[in-house]
């Protein structure tokens, strides 16, 4: 077995001096060998022992320190977050080494806990970030001094800012103007702590990027300080779509409502200038008018103050017909006046005529230096950059729209011009359809006139028809009378033998002549303008009188009469006998149509303006598409009828400024008469 060097040194240091001391003491007590030499020996041994203590102390001190340092460092590392500690070669097993090992184990535990936590945090961070960045809303945090602490990347991209640069700036520094509502909103949220939402707020950055947004303002407390969070939703395109739909529907609506063309044009230009529309500052519309291109409408502020006034107004202007007029009056009066008084001959050469003729848009970047512009045009537009687009329908142009950003001087992008052109073609269609509508109206007018002429000739035809009917009604009794008269003249040759026959014939002639008289008086009543005796009559009396007259007929046909006359009915100015004729004819009609055992109802009523008489039956009804045809002269379903009874009724009622209608009921018909009360 090989003795290791260390063991040997240990033996030498710890065992050898003790052995030598023991040997010396044995020799000292049991022998006399101890002499001077022995004293020297003792001293030597003691020196050896002392040296050993020194070495031992030094060695212990060194190792202790080293280990304490190690632990101190380990704790320091852990404090710093370095949990994995180095493994050390253990030379001496003591408490400190154990402690170090414990600390090392603890470090390992901490490390695994920390790693796990860190993973969680990282994951959460990822989720959080992806939430922040995936929402399309812009997100901005302001500190207690309303300076920007954070703004999302998409916000900076949209408004063309550097994400780092805008930190520490105030919102006044990044927006061209800050809507008073937004400022007030931030203040309100800071004071109350409640969140608020500002809808459809106009934001215009110093880089001239403009959006309409819904802004949610809320506050959070960070270490006792109130920070403001702005969540900005860009609703421009949504509004634009809504707007265009509503614009189109409103344009067509205004057309349907026969609105003035001005209203249609105003609506169109509002679409060009409104923030939710195309967002131009000003828009001017010219339309071809004969040989001219004439200014027809303009929308836009007259001055920067007006512009700010419009932009900071409570909300982005919604299209609303009711306030169109007041708005026109409120802003841009000078512009409108100027435009309305402008008229260019189509033979002239200027930018509007050019755009109209070439049917293409023209973009002027700098009108101050552009050689193609006449001084008149330059002073007319009075703006550096503007665009003119034609209004095209099919393959022809009907006018132009000019638009600019005079007040915010935002550059006009090609995309915007593209949009304006599309918009202009829609607008052109609307204008065209308005024009078409106007033409259609004119045509309608003509047709109506023609129709009236036709009606007039129809009336003539009706007169012919009526004449034929009258002729028929008169001829029949005449023929009979003439025939029998003829016969009498023959029979009279032998009067004694033919006496009875002659009497019979004479009676027939008499009857027929009476019939003829009746027919004639009916016809005459109908055609001759009646002379009415107008007095204040109680319509209930008229009805009671008539019913008394018809009492026997009701009994004969076993017809039940339901009578419900309103008491205290107002008197109506009328001809008593004519009204009796009306009621008589109507009831007579009902009796004729009603089978025995049926019912006839007669009711009177009144409201503030009219007296109402209703007469109904349980008869056979009217088998005609429009039951009111029965009021036509000579319409009859009766063999013996002339077809004048109800026509006379209608005429009398009309002469009293009243109305009569008839409807089929489930069984039978109902006549309704309304007679106006004196005003």
């Amino acid at each position: 077995m090989k003795i290791r060097k260390r063991t040997f040194y240990r033996l030498l240091l710890f065992v050898l001096p003790d052995f030598l001391l023991a040997l010396f003491l044995v020799l000292f007590f049991f022998t006399d060998l101890v002499s001077d030499f022995s004293i020297i020996m003792l001293g030597l041994i003691l020196a050896l022992l002392f040296a050993r203590s020194i070495i031992y102390f030094i060695k212990s001190w060194f190792f202790y320190n080293k280990r304490v340092n190690l632990i101190t460092n380990a704790l320091y590392d852990i404090k710093k977050g370095k949990f994995i500690l180095p493994k050390i070669e253990i030379q001496h097993d003591d408490e400190l080494t154990d402690l170090y090992q414990e600390i090392r184990t603890l470090g390992k535990h901490l490390d695994s806990i920390f790693t796990a936590q860190k993973d969680e945090i990282d994951k959460f961070n990822d989720v959080y970030n992806s939430i922040i960045f995936s929402i399309s809303s812009y997100f901005m945090v302001l500190n207690e001094f309303e300076k920007i602490v954070f703004a999302t990347e998409n916000f900076c991209n949209k408004f063309q800012f550097d994400q780092e640069d805008i930190k520490g700036k105030k919102i006044d520094d990044i927006f061209y103007f800050v809507n008073a509502r937004l400022k007030g909103g931030i203040r309100q949220v800071r004071e109350t702590g409640d969140s608020i939402i500002l809808e459809k707020t106009h934001l215009l950055s110093i880089n001239k990027v403009s959006i309409i947004s819904d802004i949610k303002i809320s506050s959070i407390s960070v270490q006792g300080r109130r920070e403001i969070i702005l969540l900005i939703d860009d609703v421009t395109s949504k509004l634009r779509k809504d707007y265009q739909i509503s614009l189109m529907s409103q344009i067509s609506e205004s057309i349907q409502h026969d609105a003035e063309i001005e209203r249609v044009l105003y609506t169109i230009l509002t679409g060009v200038t409104s923030g939710s529309g195309l967002g131009f500052n000003r828009a001017i519309l010219f339309l071809v008018d004969g040989e001219f291109l004439a200014g027809k409408m303009a929308v836009g502020p007259d001055s920067f103050e007006e512009a700010i006034d419009i932009w900071s107004s409570v909300q982005v202007n919604e299209l609303n017909h009711s306030n169109v007029d007041s708005e026109v009056k409120k802003h841009g009066i000078k512009l409108l006046e100027k435009v309305l008084s402008t008229k260019y001959s189509l033979k002239e050469d200027n930018i509007f005529i050019r755009s109209y003729r070439k049917m293409d848009s023209i973009h002027i970047y700098d009108s101050w230096t552009d050689p193609s512009l006449s001084p008149e045009t330059v002073s007319f537009m009075d703006v550096k950059e503007f665009v003119v687009v034609p209004l095209i329908v099919g393959n022809r142009s009907i006018g132009v729209i000019a638009a600019d950003n005079k007040f915010n001087q935002s550059p006009i992008s090609n995309d915007l011009i593209e949009l304006l052109s599309i918009f202009a073609s829609q607008a052109a269609l609307s204008i065209e359809s308005y024009d078409n509508l106007a033409n259609v109206r004119k045509e309608m007018q003509k047709i109506q006139e023609r129709q009236e002429a036709i009606v007039e000739s129809e009336k003539m035809a009706a007169v012919g028809r009526i004449a034929a009917h009258i002729a028929h009604e008169i001829r029949n009794p005449l023929v009979t009378m003439g025939g029998y008269a003829n016969r009498i003249s023959q029979l009279a040759k032998d009067p004694a033998r033919s006496r009875d026959k002659i009497v019979n014939a004479a009676e027939i002639i008499l009857k027929e002549s009476q019939r003829l008289e009746r027919t004639l008086s009916n016809v005459m009543d109908f055609t001759r303008p009646a002379k009415y005796i107008r007095e204040f009559n109680n319509i209930n009396d008229v009805i009671s009188d008539t019913i008394r007259l018809l009492k026997n007929l009701f009994l004969e046909k076993k017809i039940v009469v339901d009578l419900d006359l309103k008491g205290d009915i107002p008197l109506v100015k009328s001809d008593f006998n004519q009204m009796k004729q009306v009621v008589l004819n109507l009831i007579q009609n009902c009796i004729d149509a009603t089978t025995p055992g049926g019912r006839i109802g007669i009711f009177t009523d009144s409201d503030d303006e009219n007296i109402i008489i209703r007469i109904n039956d349980t008869g056979s009804g009217i088998d005609e598409p429009d039951p009111n045809i029965i009021f036509e002269p000579f319409f009859t379903t009766k063999i013996t009828g002339v077809g004048l009874g109800l026509a006379i009724v209608k005429k009398i009622i009309k002469d009293h400024n009243g109305e009569i209608t008839v409807v089929n009921r489930e069984v039978g018909v109902e006549f309704t008469i309304t007679l106006p009360l004196p005003a």
Binding site: G464, A468, A471, H472, E473, R475, N476, L478, V479, T480, M481, G482, G483, Y484, A485, N486, R487, I508, K511, E512, I639
Partner: protein, 120 residues
Amino acid sequence: MTRLLIVEDEQHQRELYAMELQDEGYEVDQAANGKEAVEMVKSNKYDMVIMDIRMPEMDGIEALGKILSRDKKIPIIIYTAYSNYKSNFMTWTADAYVTKSSNLEELKDKIKEILVSRAV
């Protein structure tokens, strides 16, 4: 003996025509409306029908159509108080259109004329 059918809703007129035509030597039957006339033509043989237009139940034009659909050859004279339908009688395939008159000579002449032309 020549047998005629008078179709007329006005009783007095019908009887007058019957008397007058009987005096002329015809045998005369009477119908008060188109429906009756159609029934009578079914069961009797007539040499001629004299037809009014406006009648209850069935008017003369409808009756005329029904009669002709049974017997195409039977002569029919339209005799009416309407003077304004005269241009229509050809389309109704009637043989003559005579407007009513207190003087029956025109009717009597027409009857003779048609009977003669049929006989030839």
